[in-house]
Amino acid sequence: MTAECLARALGYPCVGREILQEAARTVGVPVEDLSERLEARPSLFARLTQERKRYLLAVQTALAKHCVTGKLVYHGLAGQFLLRDLPGVLSARLIAPLETRVQTLTSSHHRMTQKAAEEFIQTVDEERRRWVKLMYGADVEDPSLYDITVNLQSISLDTACVIIAEASAQPQFEVTAEVRKRLEGFGSECREQLLGMGG
């Protein structure tokens, strides 16, 4: 919801799952397969390493293509790693207390009980933590991975949107001609690497 609010405030397109869909088309598999393989549990990791790398690179390439304009709100898989150290990119993380997240989930999925929502959130968090550790050797909760972390405990989504929009308007994130060139270069590097892995 914050991503959409932010996209509206900035006048940028908002992408999430579309990136996975594009990546799936590039590697010629259904998007469900790509998601499943990317997020496979660690026990399958060794067997899937090459395939996983290729899929992840396909996601990075699709994302890089959208980033070239420097105007994009991405809310999806591993943005903080896929676009790490790129100029003009603001990485933001939103956190919220479990009870707030449970309430959001149960109010949007009326058949979901509180207990089921809690279990779902805990499972998703654990899977994500494990995935990030495995893929990048990092702790997904480490604030140093992001430019800004906003806690929704006492901050509304609208305010979070205002705060992140303000951060993105700072000169450090201005998309200058030089930054654009770097983003284009990043896109080309990703494409070449993906071709090197069989497209």
Binding site: L90, R93, I95, P97, E141, P143, S144, Y146, D147, I148, T149, V150, N151, Q153, S154, I155, S156, T159, V162, I163, E166, A167, Q170, P171, Q172, F173
Partner: protein, 256 residues
């Protein structure tokens, strides 16, 4: 950063003054108060009572300022001393080690090795203290409303972001918020009185205020004289404006 915020928001800047006020209230030196707050307990009872007193004094000094009007506090443990209060925006700034080293070597003329040693020492002391006092990890982002990483963002950029956040309705000091801040100040005054009084200073108590009514929580020894409850009520009533004191204590046998 704090100075930039004070300039943008036109709020007074408060940091060391809080420790000075607390030290003056207790009649100790600033250095003794700082050391006493940070000391790792050995002689548990004596030192924990002393530390509790020092912290109660610091929190009370901060509460006086917070209830008195808008301010920017950049001092010790604001995120825990003011935890749960409305109208308070808690911000943490983080920066990579190389940036912190550069800032310190430039401002203090230190060599890089000494600067790194100093930074690691201060970080460790701060982390240990917050863990010991509040059982929290100082780096946990849930303690703050936002965490800003100075790796890419500059201090003026961080200042603009925080100024914008402080202007949002989530942090407006409405009439209700003002009342909560006054209640917080009253609770801190009572807590300090309890931490100072001979009969109650050994107790680890939590205090809440709602106007003229006070609730006291915690564990207390069930003395044979049966007077501990009376002591607490009497001490709380010495604070101006306190009319009703409700004890919500768990009594324990001091000689099991």
């Amino acid at each position: 950063m704090a100075e930039c915020l004070a300039e943008h928001l036109h709020y007074p800047l408060v940091a060391r003054e809080i420790i000075q006020e607390a030290a003056s209230e207790l009649g100790v030196s600033e250095a003794d108060l700082s050391r006493g707050m940070e000391r790792t307990p050995r002689l548990w009872n004596r030192q924990s009572s002393e530390r509790r007193l020092y912290i109660a004094a610091v929190q009370a000094a901060l509460a006086e300022q917070v209830a008195g009007g808008d301010l920017i506090y950049h001092g010790r443990a604001g995120q825990v001393l003011l935890a749960g209060l409305p109208g308070v925006l808690k911000v943490r700034l983080i920066a990579p080690m190389d940036l912190r080293l550069r800032a310190l070597t430039e401002s203090e003329g230190m060599d890089s090795a000494s600067a790194e040693q100093y930074i690691r020492h201060v970080d460790a002391v701060r982390a240990r203290w917050v863990k010991m006092m509040y059982g929290k990890d100082v780096e946990d982002p849930v303690l703050y409303n936002m965490v800003i990483n100075l790796k890419t963002l500059s201090i003026p950029a961080a200042c603009s972001i925080v100024t914008k956040a402080a202007d949002q309705p989530d942090f407006a000091v409405t009439k209700e918020v003002k009342l909560k801040l006054l209640d917080f100040r009253q609770a801190c005054r009572v807590k300090l009185a309890l931490a100072k009084a001979r009969d109650t200073r050994s107790l680890d108590l939590r205090v809440e205020a709602d106007g003229k009514e006070i609730d006291v929580f915690g564990a207390a020894p069930a003395l044979s004289s049966g007077k501990m409850g009376e002591h607490i009520v009497d001490v709380a009533r010495t604070v101006e404006g306190v009319e009703t004191v409700r004890l919500k204590l768990e009594w324990f046998d001091p000689y099991p």
